[in-house]
Subunit: 310 residues, 2 copies
């Protein structure tokens, strides 16, 4: 069985890691959001790609989920001492990724090539693909500040502004890479990981155009990132509320309704399963909270078992 996982940041990376623990490298491709990518201190930073790579490489900070384990912040502290921008928390090890990526991009390599090389250097055997090599920039429209680039909203302003909407700048001219297309051609199922639908998954879906330009596998399942009306991490629930939608697993199923063949909810939300729309979507209720390595593998196994039943 060939699986394509769509992932954004920390939550998506965890399930992708679980799937990677169960599937051989040739059976899993992870397509990652690049709408969060941005320029900072002259460096091209791809936060979601890095989070997925670090997680699968076992290099991720286990406390935060993002950044590197055993990280130091000498450079950042000295940038701060010079009055430079310190709101984006760049560790010294992590800096190397951005320095070398920026160098290679300037030398003409694509983000796809660079990600492949980095994965090889880090010992990641499964394929991690940026959704596109064309620039896409997620813009968050806020009540207080108007449109903010994603990292300005997410990191600098700590998701505090009230959200009105989203725009993916550059999406019209962004194309899925040949590697992404090929992975989708071969896929038996797509797993939409428990990442933020608005800012992690929607940019990927907007590039992939699954129902139109790109081959679409028979099964597409999503794992709800909202459990008991809340997110484990990140602003998805807050965003739904601010957009006038009650944050719940149902809202997630509704979000993906044109795509889904299957939907996974947490046991906390078991009572909602009967209300999942559209009604022809199969549901699976399981413990979807991933606190440990074991949790990742267990949920991944549930996902794979569920796909077999579809």
């Amino acid at each position: 069985m060939n699986i394509v996982a769509l992932a954004g940041g920390v939550g998506g990376a965890k399930l992708a890691d679980g799937l990677a623990q169960l599937l051989p490298p040739e059976a899993l491709t992870i397509i990652v959001n690049t709408g969060d990518d941005f320029e900072h201190l002259g460096l091209t930073i791809s936060p979601d790609v890095d989070t997925v790579c670090y997680t699968l490489a076992g290099l991720a900070n286990p406390e935060t989920g993002w950044g590197r384990a055993d990280e130091t912040f000498e450079a950042l502290e000295n940038v701060r001492a010079l009055g430079g921008p310190d709101w984006f928390r760049l560790g010294d090890k992590d800096l190397a990724t951005h320095l070398e990526r920026t160098r290679r991009l300037k030398a003409g390599q694509t983000l796809t090539q660079i990600t492949r090389d980095f994965c090889q250097a880090w010992g990641v055997r499964h394929t991690i693909l940026p959704m596109s090599d064309d620039p896409v920039q997620t813009m968050v429209d806020t009540v207080e500040f108007g449109e903010l680039p994603f990292q300005e909203y997410f990191v600098r302003r700590k998701c505090e502004p009230k959200v009105k909407g989203f725009r993916f700048a550059g999406i019209e001219s962004a194309r899925p890479t040949p590697e992404v297309r090929e992975a989708l051609e071969r896929a038996d199922a797509i797993v939409i990981c428990p990442s933020n639908p608005w800012v992690s998954i929607d940019p990927i879906l907007a590039v992939l155009q699954l129902r139109s330009t790109v081959h679409c596998p028979p099964s597409i399942i999503a794992v709800s990132p909202i459990i008991g009306g809340q997110t484990v991490k990140g602003p998805a629930a807050k965003m739904y509320a601010e957009m006038g939608i009650t944050p719940s697993a149902l809202a997630i199923a509704e979000h993906y309704k044109n795509l889904l063949t299957g939907f996974i909810l947490d046991t906390t939300d078991a009572h909602l399963a009967k209300d999942v729309q559209p009604v022809n979507v199969q549901t699976c209720v399981t413990n979807s909270l991933m606190k440990s390595q074991t949790d990742r593998r267990r949920l991944a196994q549930d996902v794979l078992n569920f796909i077999q039943t579809l």
Copy 2:
């Protein structure tokens, strides 16, 4: 008495530091070579400016003379792990300088402004000025590899190639900054620090054009960087030999002959004092080796005393 010191890397920085220990901030300006500046990993690096700033700030690595004390190399080690260039030894603290400088240059600030701000942040009270805000690139013409950018020769190839000559690319259009001109207008004496004449001082002199466009103070003295036919550090003696000139304090005096009013030799070379050309140049023989902080101050005091006699 207003002093302008011309300095390149480590040796020059040491004497500049000695002068800064003796003179109030308003009485000393240090004009620094920028011919070594280069782009690396997307960063704009000014090695000599940084060495002088770090030295005066008390932040320099006391073993190497360049780079930061108590430095870590997490970023560099991780760049190496990704197969990136690791020949230029960038520490994590030092990286902050280059990141923030590059960011500010891209935002339109000049190297002069940036250096002033950095000095303020680091607690350096004396004025350190890049020789120019216009790019000058020292090229080293070598027997084995033809022309090499300075850092390729100096760091990457460890000064091993045999030198045939030097070229300062961009020198025709490089102008001294208003700040440099003003410092020279006010100067009672110029001290050419014991830096490499070919690659540290010549670029400064080429930009300053002391005898023509810029006001030239009555006294110009040089401290020989060659002691007993050898350099304390760096390739100056090797360069003289390769250029067919016997490396000695005499070669240094000859190098600067159109400029000098005074020349300082080490006691080791006392016997050469009578042969210093041109004959009207005053000489001063003293212990010019700077191993300790006390040595720097002592030599600086000798320099100032000597200037008084001219």
